[in-house]
Point group: C2
Chain length 240, copies 2
């Protein structure tokens, strides 16, 4: 099994993804919030790029809730921003939520055509690795980055996933996978401090969202594996 990391969505090779399992990471905060929301019973999350797309889609699919942020701040009139703490069971259970994100949505859509696309985070690291391995395919971890720039927090999580996948069996790592593993190994005992120095970590700290930073770096607290299929995110049928 080969493990590769696309450090940015544009690094996803243009080749055939149909024989690969992709894991998408947007740690601050889209995929962390998606994993939390699905763990709390959300039925479907639909990632879209813009507010206009969200509104147009809502007109087609019926009663929905809206989630979205711009520059880490909730879009006016929306039901949720992008903090994982907002997606509590009482608010999300059995709901369909349309979520507008830029980086996360671009990363998810970059994997279209993959054998499977799974949604990862620190919270469900082990669960998403176990699920990804089941298919016996090569694994491509896709980091969302931020506005086309490398994001430290996404790559640290990718490094954790490489460590978990590598410890489970014979793997071949690409250079980016080896690099992310080195990065994670060096930072693993100081993840939150490292994250606070990152660009997105600093911004969240400035917005008094250190609770979000700390939450996003909790490892293996959730066992769910959301899956992206036909334009929407649902609970993978193999997970409970």
């Amino acid at each position: 099994m080969k493990i590769d990391i696309a450090l940015l969505p544009r690094d996803v090779t243009m080749g055939d993804l149909s024989d690969k399992v992709c894991i998408v990471l947007d740690i601050f905060r889209a995929t962390t919030s998606i994993v939390t929301s699905v763990a709390n019973g959300c039925k479907t999350m639909v990632p879209v790029l813009s507010v206009e797309d969200a509104l147009a889609l809502a007109g087609q699919i019926g009663p929905v809730l809206f989630a979205g942020e711009r520059q880490s701040i909730k879009i006016e009139g929306f039901d949720f921003g992008n903090s994982p703490f907002e997606f509590s069971t009482d608010k999300v259970k059995d709901k369909t939520i349309i979520m507008t994100t830029t980086n996360g949505t671009i990363a998810i859509k970059a994997t279209e055509g993959a054998h499977h696309t799974l949604i990862g985070s620190f919270l469900n690291a082990k669960a998403v690795c176990l699920e990804a391995q089941k298919y016996g395919k090569d694994i491509l971890i896709v980091c969302a980055g931020t506005d086309g720039l490398f994001s430290l927090e996404d790559t640290l999580c990718a490094g954790l996933l490489v460590q978990l996948l590598h410890s489970e069996g014979e793997t071949q790592m690409t250079d980016s996978a080896r690099g992310a593993l080195l990065m994670y190994t060096e930072a693993k005992d100081k993840l939150v401090e490292t994250a606070v120095d990152s660009r997105n970590g600093k911004r969240l700290q400035d917005l008094n969202r250190m609770d979000d930073v700390e939450y996003c770096f909790r490892i293996d607290t959730l066992q769910v594996v959301p899956q992206y299929i036909e334009g929407r995110i649902i609970l993978n049928e193999n997970t409970i």
Copy 2:
């Protein structure tokens, strides 16, 4: 002073480079060979993309030598391949060498318009950092990568440069600079072993060029700083 790393030439921001000092790294083996060659008295090295460009240019500028490889093997009829051991004083002193490389040339040309473009490697790590700092500008380290893919050895060297630059004064690091620093810090006591596991390291090992791998990871053995200016590489006037 801000320190940024472009993990690939395409990550060089399209913005204004005129206020930045760039350091280009192509560890296996273009920039290592350039630094070696200039240290051994080579007058000028001209990086070009193709054999055709090399021959056309030779017709314009007079007596030259040719260096170049494809898939790590010397181009037939050329004077040098791309092993740093070939660029010995008796062969390069006072010569002009046209060098065809793909990754290195793309990386160097991506910095056109920069305040200064310097050629870096493990060999001249400290020297290139000292030179880069002299200008009081933000520093962008450009990793050549390999055929558009992330290269571990380039990013490890970038991490060393970040460490050196950071230890010398107040710096702001971007996420990619922090990531490379973490990577280097974890790998610094096992650089050659780490490099041998990389894609290019494996290829050189398969070609029985472990001497090259080890040479390319020698730190601070040379004090020269080649500079790219007006299409050619010469010894920076401040270094001896």
